[in-house]
């Protein structure tokens, strides 16, 4: 199959399979074993795994370095890059290096503001924004040119991802912003964690009406609740997150036996995944089991997403050779 990147995630999506991506947060240190341990839970359970980039603006092992470690484990990384920490020189240099080492997917993000992290008074770079980053990667890949317009000797072939939050205000503008990301060159979209299914249905309906879902693969974001406390935190303290009361009540109703709330959280996530599979315009799910990677095999199994497809032209998650 012809793909832009030669990667597995792209091949799975282009073959029409319902894709699943996972997430792996790098360690706060050089703990290689911690990465391999998390990767082992995800192996053969997801088509690619997002490697977060100093998420919540807290210093961690770098995203590209952790991506290389999971390639060793036979997982395909989706290398996240935020605009907060590096300028256009560093970004382009890292993209070339990442591709040279076999990274085939990127998720282009603005990044959580440094104010939320462990170095709140650091200087945020924001030389370019996430949409400009998407356009830059596309230009590097399709035109073989740096942002400056100069030629690249062996352009990086990257499957370009972007994020979308269907729940942040202004709601009506969120589809326009999605359209801007598609116009800039996004090949796939991973959404913010979805809890308000009704609002998400409205969003995806608009995306279908605008013809956007024919141009971009949309992976619906799913984060299972581990506890009632987490659900309440998501509802009350995370801007742009929309957690309906009926889900909180449902978790409260599961109180009792040890692990009952977590089991209910997983059940809710699996029900969501079923709905997404039947929803027009949704090409897959992005499962963000935050610091809960060991539950991914169970969730993916319970959601009926196993075994993962092997697609010709994809690398089945195996490391791609540098070119």
């Amino acid at each position: 199959m012809e793909t832009k990147s030669g990667g597995n995630l792209e091949a799975v999506l282009r073959a029409g399979h319902f894709a699943i991506t996972g997430e792996l947060g790098p360690p706060r240190g050089a703990n290689v074993e911690a990465v391999h341990k998390k990767a082992a839970y995800l192996k053969d359970k997801v088509d690619a795994v997002n490697i977060t980039d100093n998420q919540t603006a807290v210093v961690r092992m770098s995203s590209w370095a952790t991506s290389l470690l999971v390639i060793q484990d036979g997982l395909e990384p989706n290398y996240q890059m935020v605009c907060r920490d590096r300028n256009r020189l560093a970004m382009q240099a890292d993209i070339l290096g990442a591709y040279a080492h076999g990274i085939r997917n990127m998720l282009c993000l603005s990044g959580d503001h440094q104010k939320f992290g462990d170095h709140p008074h650091s200087k945020g770079v924001f030389d370019i924004d996430s949409i400009q980053l998407i356009a830059m990667v596309r230009r590097m890949r399709d035109e073989g040119k740096f942002l400056s317009g100069e030629d690249i000797d062996t352009p990086p072939r990257i499957f370009i991802g972007a994020a979308a939050n269907p729940f942040a205000e202004p709601f009506e503008w969120r589809i326009t912003r999605l359209a801007k990301k598609v116009a800039a060159g996004a090949d796939f979209i991973q959404t913010q964690c979805i809890y308000n299914m009704e609002k998400f249905r409205r969003w995806i309906h608009l995306a279908n009406e605008e013809g956007l879902t024919e141009k971009v693969f949309i992976l619906a974001g799913v984060t299972p609740f581990k506890s009632l406390g987490m659900a309440k935190y998501m509802k009350n303290s995370v801007p742009g997150m929309d957690v309906p009361d009926h889900l909180i009540k449902r978790l409260q109703g599961a109180k009792g036996k040890k692990g009952a709330i977590a089991a209910e959280g997983i059940k809710i996530a699996c029900e969501q995944i079923q709905e997404f599979r039947e929803m027009k315009g949704v090409a897959g799910v992005h499962l963000m089991a935050i610091e809960w990677e060991h539950k991914v095999p169970q969730i993916v199994e319970q959601a009926g997403l196993l075994p993962r497809p092997r697609v010709d032209g994809g690398n089945g998650g195996a490391p791609a050779a540098g070119e």
């Binding site: 104010k115 370019i128 202004p170 801007p239």
Partner: protein, 224 residues
């Protein structure tokens, strides 16, 4: 207008060290208007310094003088005569004014009494808001007169990010309106949303190297 506020007294005292006598030089420009460095504030600072030294059993000889502006040589005739009588000048001008004074009296320690905050406007009496980062490439014509470089915490050109709160405020602070929420609202009301529908390409930053502006009629005079 440039907005500034006074540094903590301890920091000014520490900078002064053994320097004595001292001239507190007030500025009648921006820092006077924002109630941080005009004649009244310069005299208040001098009084605070005297009291502080006195409380510690010392004595600081300190005088004040306020000129119309500290960023133009035309206003310095009196200070040129006085400066030699002091071991230091404490300037209550903005960062530009302090540097102008320091350049004019290169053998004299010139110390800042203020922290210069931003270019902004008066929201109300004694209440100032930052509105311009002097980026050198103004986009206000396309963003409904709301600056995304200054007012968006991530300086996005294709916002808003996913962190806009339900009430239209920024994720970093519930007291700060999301710039892109406001831009969208204003352009929608003007029926001009098409201005922000297309992808705005990466900008060429103009404020990374010290800038000089010479008005056209003066180019010949300066040989530029």
């Amino acid at each position: 207008m440039i907005i500034a506020h006074r540094k903590p007294l301890e920091e000014i005292v520490e900078m002064l060290g053994q320097l004595n006598p001292v001239l507190v030089l007030g500025c009648g420009g921006c820092t006077s208007i924002c109630l941080a460095g005009g004649q009244r504030e310069a005299e208040q600072l001098a009084a605070d310094l005297r009291e502080d030294y006195g409380n510690r059993g010392g004595q600081l000889e300190v005088n004040t003088y306020t000129i119309e502006r500290q960023c133009n040589a035309d206003f310095f005739a009196d200070i040129d005569r006085l400066a030699g009588d002091y071991q230091a000048i404490v300037s209550t001008a903005c960062g530009a004014g302090v540097q102008f004074v320091a350049e004019r009296y290169p053998r004299l320690p010139v110390l800042p009494a203020l922290n210069t905050d931003f270019v902004g406007f008066d929201k109300d009496v004694g209440w100032y808001e930052e509105n311009c980062r002097t980026c050198g490439d103004c986009v206000l014509g396309e963003t409904g007169g709301i600056c995304p470089v200054t007012r968006c915490a991530k300086s996005l050109f294709n916002g808003p990010c996913g962190g806009t709160r339900a009430d239209g405020t920024c994720e970093v602070d519930p007291d700060i309106p999301c710039a892109w929420f406001e831009i969208h609202k204003r352009l929608r009301e003007q029926g001009r949303l098409e201005l922000i529908t297309r992808v705005r390409p990466a900008r060429e930053w103009q404020n990374q190297i010290r800038r000089t502006v010479i008005q056209e009629p003066y180019r010949e005079r300066y040989g530029k």
